[in-house]
């Protein structure tokens, strides 16, 4: 894996460069209803990541050839703003954004009850305003909150979080340096109520024990993030 060999990112007491312990996640804020014209929307900050997600629909699917007679189709567009990284992102789609859009769509298709809206389309735009590391996790988590805000029926929310390995130690929620110079990265999409997986990727190598540890970190973090999501959804509608 990439990396530059001997970058020290975690000390012998298990304290990471930004002061977190191995199982700690970066601070998260979630806010709904940030895009007034959209049917549902969400702004999520996670460390110095920030994503804005807008959901439109269900609506008539155009062009007609993309319609499915038995279910709705999801149209997920993940995009990083040109100013989201320190060196300017070239605007528009690229290979990476297409991949992230695809895995996000696959993950969301397993929670949204698509068969209730045949011949329709649900459009989900994920815009990364500020990127650090783990933007696909932010995008997917925020997308599920925005879908709930839009009133689209789902069997569960999706929490996405990544764990990885730095200096041979398994840690939760990698930041930029840990992601760039670390040895492995394991993003997961989790249905917090049932603990089922909707999304799993792995970069680099983990032994079986390391994998189990990363799994556990992700599952624990998912419960924690789920509480924030519930709070954001319910708190935004206090009457």
């Amino acid at each position: 894996m990439g990396g530059y060999g001997d970058v020290q990112m975690i000390d012998e007491n298990g304290v990471r460069a930004d002061g977190r312990g191995p199982g700690d996640i970066r601070p998260i804020t979630i806010e709904t209803g940030v895009v007034p014209v959209a049917d549902g929307s969400c702004r999520m900050t996670w460390g110095t990541n920030e994503a804005i997600v807008a959901v439109y629909g269900p609506m008539e699917a155009h062009p007609r050839k993309i319609q499915r007679q038995d279910r709705a189709v999801l149209d997920v567009a993940y995009n990083m703003a040109p100013f989201s990284t320190t060196d300017r992102m070239r605007p528009g789609f690229n290979r990476r954004s297409r991949e992230v859009s695809k895995v996000t769509q696959d993950a969301l298709e397993s929670v949204v009850l698509l068969e209730l809206y045949p011949r329709s389309k649900i459009r989900i735009s994920i815009e990364i305003v500020s990127a650090e590391a783990g933007t696909r996790c932010v995008g997917l988590t925020a997308a599920s909150v925005a879908l709930a805000d839009a009133g689209i029926p789902m069997t569960d929310l999706v929490v996405s979080v990544a764990s990885g390995k730095i200096n041979d130690v398994v840690v939760c929620d990698l930041n930029k340096e840990e992601d760039n110079y670390g040895e492995a990265d394991l993003p997961m999409g989790i249905m917090p109520n049932s603990g089922e997986l909707v999304f799993l990727q792995m970069d680099g190598d983990l032994s079986q024990d390391e994998f189990k540890q990363a799994w556990k970190y992700n599952m624990d973090a998912a419960q924690e993030i789920h509480k924030l999501m519930v709070e954001a959804l319910n708190g935004g509608d206090s009457q």
Partner: protein, 232 residues
């Protein structure tokens, strides 16, 4: 809700005020998708609720309502789903030689065949009668399982809308506008001196002088705002 608290203090316990203060009125009656609503034994699943392996499960975000044995969720946001017999206001989105495509604010468009159109229309003359962008008052004739739906303009008062404005709100708020026995709506009509036709898809046709129309619009946007808890 299951999945007990994770016993781990960390750097995010203080500043996680996602939207609004913590420990607010978030009682048991607000739910989000995936929430477990208890055993399904002896209960019926209403709107936004699904039975999965013997448990009731929330599918939508909203307020939990328990009416008799039926558990349902009053959603914060919905799309209109056409049902046969509904009075709706639609916009013409496309035409062919013998039919119009009508946009109803629903997840799918409806068709208006020439035979159900207003008056007599010649083959190929659809566009000269009602063009793209025109608003019409019509009635849903049928909705199939695959969501192909047909609207009709044959009926009392169904016509092309030539004056006034069309306003839109979430369909689940219609009850608040109409009120018990139509009382709130009647009062609004009297106070603003407007003619108001409320259609089932959340759109309404408002006709009157400018001040009256603006008055109605303000009232509607207030209702929408209130329902979203002061947001938007």
């Amino acid at each position: 809700m299951n999945g007990g608290p994770v016993a781990r203090l960390d750097n995010m316990t203080k500043k996680n005020g996602a939207a609004g203060p913590q420990g607010n009125k978030r009682g048991n009656n607000l739910v989000v998708p995936g929430d477990d609503l208890g055993d399904s034994e002896g209960f019926e699943a209403g709107h936004g609720v699904l039975v999965m392996s013997g448990r009731l499960k929330a599918l939508k975000q909203g307020k939990l309502r328990e009416k008799g044995r039926t558990i349902s969720i009053e959603p914060v946001h919905t799309r209109y789903i056409p049902r046969p017999g509904d009075l709706v206001i639609g916009f013409i989105e496309g035409c062919t030689n013998n039919l119009w495509f009508i946009e109803l604010g629903a997840p799918f468009n409806a068709i208006l065949p020439m035979s159900l159109g207003p008056g007599k229309v010649d083959f190929g003359g659809t566009r000269s009668v009602m063009d793209i962008g025109d608003a019409i008052l019509c009635r849903v004739q049928e909705v199939e399982e695959t969501h192909s739906s047909v609207v009709t303009m044959k009926g009392m008062g169904l016509r092309k809308i030539r004056s006034g404005v069309v306003e839109e709100i979430d369909p689940h708020l219609l009850g608040r506008i109409i009120g018990k026995g139509g009382e709130t709506l009647r009062r609004m009509k009297a106070e603003t001196e407007c003619r108001i036709v409320v259609a089932d898809n959340g759109r309404m046709w408002i006709d009157g002088d400018l001040d009256g129309i603006l008055d109605v619009r303000n009232r509607l946007s207030k209702i929408s705002r209130d329902s979203r808890g002061g947001r938007n």
